[in-house]
Structure formats: structure tokens, C-alpha cells
Amino acid sequence: MKLQKFFKYAFPIGVAGIAINLLLFITNWYYELVVPLIEDTFIEGALFHFLDNLIYYTPVIFLLLFVAYIIAGHIYMKKVHITKEVQATEKLVEKNEKIQKELDEKAEFLKHKYYTNCPNCGSVREENANVCSFCGASLIIKEKKKQ
């Protein structure tokens, strides 16, 4: 999301840019202002022709750039918003799953009764252990089914 600041106001800036450049191109103000600078030099021939065209079409080039800026901004910001929403959902799901997992573990522990000593080898049960740390036998006391 590095470019978020750059594209945040793409639409209003882009529209303003398009309007200004359109005005500059239609009224020829930019051309009238800049072309005397190269007219007074010794540039002639193909280079002059190229520069003359370049100056004349500069507002159009900028106009197209502003159009591209708006489109790119729209695509980028849409992506940003989708990413933000997905992240918010994922964060919420993750948080819920984490809490639920802790509760489930607690509930699972409370569901059973445990031997304090291993029924197989007789060693003392370690803290939070479901199985014997020495022989690996289950420490859960299985309840007899009622007949």
C-alpha cells in the first residue's frame, strides 16, 4: 500500500488536470507562451519541426497522462479497499478462531478426568499432560458405559 497517498485523490486531481490541459490545448495558451522561446534560437529543420509539434501537443500528452492517472488510481484504490476488507474479515475470523481454540482446549480438558499416576507404569502425571511422559499411556479415565 505504498502508493496509497499518491492515488488517494486521483479522481479530483485528474479531473482538474484534464480540464486545465484541455483549456490550454483549445486556447493554445501553452503553445503561444512556449514556442517563442525556440523561435528565437537557431534551431531549424527537422528538430524545430519536432519541437514545434511537441510543444503543441504537450497539453494533450498531459491530458492523457491525467486520464491514465485516474484509471490507475481507480484500479489501485479498488484493490486497496478490497484488500482492507479481506484483511478485516480475516483478522476477525482469526481472532474468533483463536479465542474458540483456547476455550475448546479448556473445555476438552474439563470434559475428562485424569489419573494422577499412570495406570500403566505408575509414574506421576506431569502438568497439563494427557499421556504419560514415561510410557506414553493415556491418562484419561475412561468412564464405563452404563448398561
Binding site: 525556440i38 474479515t89 475470523v93
Partner: protein
Amino acid sequence: MARGGFHGGGFHSGGHHGGGGFRSSGGGGFRSSGGGFRSSGSGFHMSSSHSSGYRSSSHYSGGGYGGYGLEDEGDFFGIFRTMGIISVLIVGFFTLFIIRSVAEGMVPGYNLLNLGIFFASFVILIVSLIKYDQTSDLETIRYANPERFVGKIWNLSKNTPATRNGTKFCWVSKDDKQFYISFYDREYGPENIKKVVETMNRTPKILWIRQPKLVWALIGCVVVNFFFYELVIPVFENMIMTDIAFMIIDEVVFYFMSVNALLIAVGSLIITKFKVKILYECAVRIVADNGAAEKRLVTENFINSKLGEKWYYNSCPNCGAVASKALKTCLTCGSSLEVISYEKGDLTSVRKISVGAEKNASAGKNEEKAK
């Protein structure tokens, strides 16, 4: 090209702009302040076909339908019916009058095209506002942000979804974008408000503007359009530019307000569409979160019920002697083995006394006493 091209010769120095050309070709019309090219005769304003057309149809307002409805059956509703017909006739008359006036160029800043654009804008805006009341409570929760608010937002089409997730207070359809989020739910209402406000803060602010205010913006455009052209075009008239350039600017200025109005209306339509989409996603999230909370509540209740039973230490907290089976007091020092606070005890170092074990223990004690 430079010395003789765009700059030096051509339109600029002595073309149509300075003296004649479009702009001085004279005539009537409102757009001819200084002789606008718009008023050059065959446009909307002065078109003889137009004026004759509307004139010929003006007999509608004259009295063709004048007495209709009065000779009704005379019942109570007949009066309303008559009034309704008269109202329709009056509105129709004014509509035709306005259209004819615009067509004849008697209304400043308007021609039939931009009048049509304004009309289309109003229609589009109204279409975008049809379902506005369904999400109008968003304004209250955003600007007032109450903790407990009796409101709701929803998007419901004619057919209620057959399959939906969630509760009756908050649900989403599986197939289309239908949803219902209540803020009056006793359990999850405040949470729902919080989540919706979070979504609103996360998404572009323009989506949450008060859309009915756009109607005023549109009315503003209509009013400003009366004098916008006459105010703005003189600025460009005094500038040096080609006639084609002036023609484009002339068109842009003339249709600026109507296009503006159209953009507002279309924008409102897009806002409505995006708003529904975002709120649907928000509703999906809320339903999932509330479902998780329900599940969590069930587990918590189970844990609490288990923890509600008394627990006893496996080793005496006083002397450290091992205490097994159904003992409630230490056999060595006689202190109580009961866990007072669950938080202090480790789950593996404590035990419960089952009903069977307690019975056996009490039976054993009785036997000892008997002996």
C-alpha cells in the same frame, strides 16, 4: 510550421474570431450575447418547424378536456377524481408550455437537449434514491453514533431469500445481495453498530454521503444554468483563440451544468450500487462473527458449568501429603483440600469428586464408625 503554422498565421491573427464568423452572425436567442454562433438560425431556438409543431399542439391546454369528469356519478370520490384530472391537466399544460418556451429559445441557458439531460438526471437520481430509506439509519449511527439505537438497515428485493444465514436480527442471503442488519438486537445491536461504523470509516467517505442532498445539488444546477452561460461565455469571448476552439468552449460552457447534473445523478446510482455491495460484505462478516460469538457462548457456559463443581487438590496445600480418591480433608494435617479460587490452582493438580466415589467414601466412613 512554427513560423507559419499554428502560431503565426491561420485562425488566430485575422480569422473568424476577431470580427465575423460564427459569433457575429446575428439573430435572436439568448445565447447570442454578442452574436453567438448558436443563434445562427437553424438551431433549436429559432426553428420554425419546432415552434409550429408546439403551437399546433397547444390546443390541448385550451380546453379540449375542460369539462371532463364533472358530470360523474356525484359520489364523494368523484370530486377527488376530478381534482386529480385537473391537476394532471395543469401539470401537462405547464410541461408543454415549458417545452415550447425552451424550443423557441425563450428560456435563458436552455435548449431541448440540456432540458432532456436535466430531466434524465432527475429520473436517474430518483431511481438511485428509491431504496434510500433502507440504509438511511446509517446517517444516525455515523454522525450520532448512539450506543443503543432502534434502527436497522437492509436490502430486500420482492422475493424473500429462501436460504439465508444468521438469525432473524441479522442475516444474509446466499445467492443474491440481500441482507438485514438490526441495531435493536439486545445482545448484538451495539456490536453491529460498531462493525458497520468501522466499515464506513474504512471505505471511501463519498459512499456515505447523505444522498437526498444531491437533489438540492441538482436543483442548484438547474437554477444556476439559467445564467451560467451568460456569465461565463463573455470571459472566453474576449480571449484570442481559433473559432473551432471557441466553438468547443461554447458547447462546453452551455452544457456544463447539465452534464454536471447528469454526473451527480449517475454518481448517486454508482454510490447506491457500491454501498449495497459493501454493506452485504459487512453483513456477511457480522453474521459470521455473531455465529462465532454464539458458539463461544455455548463453550463458555459448558466451562462455567464444569468449573461450578467443587475441585480438590491432589496434594495438600498445607503439608504436601498426597490426597487421592474422594478425600475432602487432608488425612495427615486435617486441612481442607477444596480449591477456593480456580485461578490459583493448576488444572492438573486438582480433581473432582465423582458422585460414585463420594458415596463409596461415605460408606467407608460409616463402616469405620460402625466398627
